[in-house]
Symmetry: D2
Subunit: 364 residues, 4 copies
């Protein structure tokens, strides 16, 4: 442990304790004291510098996504290695690191088969702020740390890499799973933070025309900066307009980045035969496949879903994109709050007000 | 044209005419006289030797799949080249050939992108017995013949290769599109002719456990011969039983070879996270995605659909499998009828009676 | 045929004749009169507007690549449809088109297997200016025109699309065949026109660091504009420098765009275990694999070679990249000559003088 | 630790000691006493039941492959878990397990990128009997045991699974890396144990014609049992004969399973344009690429090399193939020796006498 950091904390909290944003019941969550976690075998404790709020966190505090009472929320963070558990090799306390929202073990059958986000079972790669305490705290325990601690190059700030942990890795994966070819036409439905990253991902993979759809003109403006060549207001006519824009041909890849029946259906409706619907949306309620848009199953259509890829190798490659100045996610970080004000940050983020996209929560 | 064949026909029919199985209205179809087609540019006329009836043909005569009045039905055939249109190279009249049910042009954008079954537009590769006269006739016009006439090796009989044209190419493609890895566990829902070929395809691609599901014990027996290591009667418990059989792990690839909500849903329910649902079913009515089995879109699940791959290169490779004795589809050809008795063959095939699987229609 | 064009020609040449750059023997070639070709079945005659000289053409006139006496040289062109042969559909005389240097039929076994550049046999897709008369002429016969005439959108000039026909399609394919992942580090050996397009292709596919190597500082400057993040002078130390730059890790993908033992060997030496050497070079003499750099065959290294992909679908997608302003190849077109001055253009291109990269030959 | 096993050993050896086959210098190796290893963090000690000798081991004892003095040789084994280090989860002492010859950590960048055989660096996945003590001993320390201990199902004997650890995983991977399509024609050069498994692998992936080449008629007989449809004696005419057999077309995939200039060159010479040379050979000395067979780099040829894939997920799938009776490797286990007689086993294996293919070394 780094004694000077401990000292600083000691002024505010009992030794060995920290502040964390803890969920208790729908609508009931907030900053409270919790014991600083200790690193077990193959684990690390990271002193958090920067974290953020994800759409999923909003579902959690509203009780729409169930987590256990007393859980610390949050799955995105940069920080400093505070403690290394037994078995950890090649790292040292004090190094600046980030970890993906998904923290695969790398050693179970799912991981060895390449399905790292499904580590150990369905959605098993997502542990932070889901099945174990998360990142909206002064310290966070990182499981399977050997596979997940990614060193941040000195040249990059925390702000520059924070969003790679989840929304960029997810959004880019929508483009990657869609197998975009050079010059393909791509439509991206919804331009929230993940959709915007999907737009950017489509550009990074070499799409030509990228059609971004959203009901919010402000988000469409950012979409244009992120690579959209056409921006369309969401609405009942949007599928028809895309059909017209592509001269009836349809798009090669349609990305669904929201998780509603409407966007899923539109994505399917604008797809050319043989095309791919790449979904990173989280669906609830029900999902129907419109058979006319699906060619009754005879149009060689593929529907692929992807959960945010994690692991330190992924994170390293994404940081390389920032370092080589191929991407700049800073337009997405619209607001900054201190950890103690996180309740206000949740309020703002949940309201979609003030042009908010992502909020940096400064912890230390 | 081969004069001796023309001569033979002349005894029965006016010169230049042939017998064909023509659709007029739901329930109204049968053998009648029609002009022998003439080969236009890039086309060929094949004198049919053997054809068969497909499940789709049953939908057509029942009016469940719309085709234009006066169409000759059928899309599977072996025969002899009778006439070659201008521009055809490397073939000669009298050669014995087969063509896939799907006859891509090879030269449009869809074909050049590898989406040959979607040649020229949705489902565009399926022309025979759909948008142009089909194979249940003494002569059939083959479009884009340069890409579709596959020479039958002398060592193989018509009976040995007939089923490659559609059901084997389709069933095998279910296994291929599912990206089965060596040693994977595969479940195949429905063991009709296509499902049986999917079972065989899973074996050909190196699956270990192959779980075949069907309500018909006779079909399950054939499934076991085709490579199924476990056969299960269809029923409400089948998904649970497969979960148990795989010790809760689920299957790597689930093949849907029917096109119903029930089989689609079961296929999804038995899939492991990260698995692939490979569908060759034809759906009607509606299709719902059960979100629990879909992990709300977060389980890295892929749903891929495939329409029968055609083209002479595909057909050559499939014939090689027969020639090298890796596959033997003869157990599927359960009955033989003459062309003039095709109405009886339709009756039998539609009734699922007498253990019928596929019926060879002998034309010449 | 377009009468007005014929008329114009008639002023200069006997009716039905044109000027063409014809090869006779090593060092012996030049503009002469030739009959305007006539479009046979499935063919088209294109009145050439713009063509160019390729490195291969230099090999041809020097006798280093054998072609038959009397051949018209050249395989890159834009132009106007002058005549359409029987069987051509969906085109009309007067349309502005381009064709890839490779003109696959789409209908042979190689094409149907996706190996279109090997149409009909080894290198069989390359016919123009190789086995049939080429594009350095006022008119050129396009074989398999249905698969190869790509309409040029009105918004694009001939100059903007000319280089897509060969060097861009080839250079980009080096990046595509290398299976570059998002954030990968790529080294590109040699920055001639194809190597520069490979650099651009690596950028288009989402590489982070792109290391361009060439002995010519001017080409390295252009490489930097095309996406190279590091440029290195070729030399004996270059492999070591790349190893150092990547902190000993090596590059994920090494592209060889020249065809010499030295560049091939360097490409292999800088590759990480598990990496891919993607080659678009043309080798002569001999090629040795240094076993230390190859891990004696145990390093999971892949060596892939790619011949320029052709076909109108490929060309359409590449034109879309220009239209959506993702690429601009104009810096490569350094000089313009009229067809009658093509000998001078060859001299300049062969000398590598005046910063020449590619020369536009204006024909009409 | 299992006390009863310790006790048994205690009769023969000082407590905590075991017998192991140790290398000292070229030609100098043999059974001696060594301390039983202790399981560190994330490691396990396995009491060996069955091990075998690999061609690489012969290279080691001859000094052709350098290892450090005092190393225990061997990388293939089945056994009983004897001790589990800290951090191991889900296993218990006494379970019967096997591990692949390659033991990846699953957590380094190479592993997370899917290049598990290159774990931590070139060839880094191969540790057992290479960089750490190996399996020809009574006990062996398994590194990264969480990723590498594969439970053997009760239904399978040690003899049934032993060869999966290396030669089957390697041989099959030759077929997998070659991307064999259904009905492809495959040639396999050399029918040693790995080549025979490559032949079997080609069959498992759905090849039609499989042409096996070897100078040994006995091995060709086994090749025929393993799926070869044609067997050819190695010799100067073999490439020409394969060209004839394939009617000049060439093979789709050529597998090189030896590592000599001759077999590599033949593999390249019989390949069709667009085909893949899949190599699992270990080359020494030099390797030249014959440019005529390589199309000067223009034939869209791919050369892929693969080092034995390891990890428990791979091993589980391979065991499933045995359990579902799709493969039976028992014909390859031609001889059995006790550990104390291992010198004789090396002599026999090195001499290629008595029809030896693989020798089971019974340890406990």
């Amino acid at each position: 442990m780094l004694p000077e950091l401990e000292e600083r904390k000691a002024k505010q909290l009992p030794r060995g304790f920290m502040r964390a944003n803890v969920f208790h019941a729908p609508g009931k969550f907030g900053i409270e004291e919790k014991a600083i976690p200790r690193a077990g075998n193959g684990q690390a404790v990271v002193q958090v510098r920067l974290t953020t709020i994800c759409g999923t966190d909003i579902h959690i505090i509203r009780g729409e996504y169930p987590v256990h009472e007393g859980l610390t929320i949050g799955h995105e963070a940069t920080g400093i290695i505070h403690e290394l558990g037994a078995g950890m090799e090649g790292y040292s306390v004090g190094q600046r690191v980030m970890t993906g929202a998904i923290t695969p073990c790398g050693q179970c059958e799912a991981c060895l088969a390449g399905d790292r986000s499904q580590c150990g079972g369905p959605l098993g790669g997502w542990q932070l702020g889901n099945t174990i305490d998360g990142t909206q705290a002064e310290y966070v325990l990182i499981p399977h740390a050997q596979a997940n601690l990614a060193l941040i190059p000195d040249a990059l700030s925390d702000e520059q890499v924070l969003l790679l942990t989840d929304i960029a890795s997810t959004g880019f994966s929508a483009a990657e799973s869609g197998n975009i070819r050079l010059g393909d036409t791509v439509a991206v439905f919804a331009q929230g933070p993940i959709g915007l990253c999907a737009t950017l991902g489509a550009r990074l993979r070499g799409a030509s025309e990228i059609i971004a759809v959203d009901p919010d003109p402000h988000r469409l403006e950012i979409a244009a900066k992120f690579g959209a060549t056409v921006t369309l207001m969401a609405g009942p006519e949007v599928a028809g307009r895309i059909r017209t824009l592509t001269k009836g041909r349809g798009v090669d890849v349609a990305i669904e980045a929201l998780g509603t029946q409407e966007t899923f259906e539109n994505a399917l409706r604008v797809l050319r035969p043989g095309g791919t619907l790449s979904s990173v949306g989280v669906y609830s309620g029900h999902l129907k496949v419109p058979l006319d848009a699906f060619g009754s199953g005879l149009e060689d259509i593929k529907i692929v879903t992807t959960l945010c890829p994690g692991g330190k190798e992924r994170m390293r490659r994404l940081m390389r994109l920032v370092e080589s100045q191929r991407i700049d996610l800073s337009p997405l970080l619209t607001h900054v709050f201190e950890l103690e004000d996180i309740a206000k940050a949740y309020e703002l983020f949940g309201s979609h007000g003030q042009g908010v996209l992502k909020i940096a929560i400064r912890v230390s």
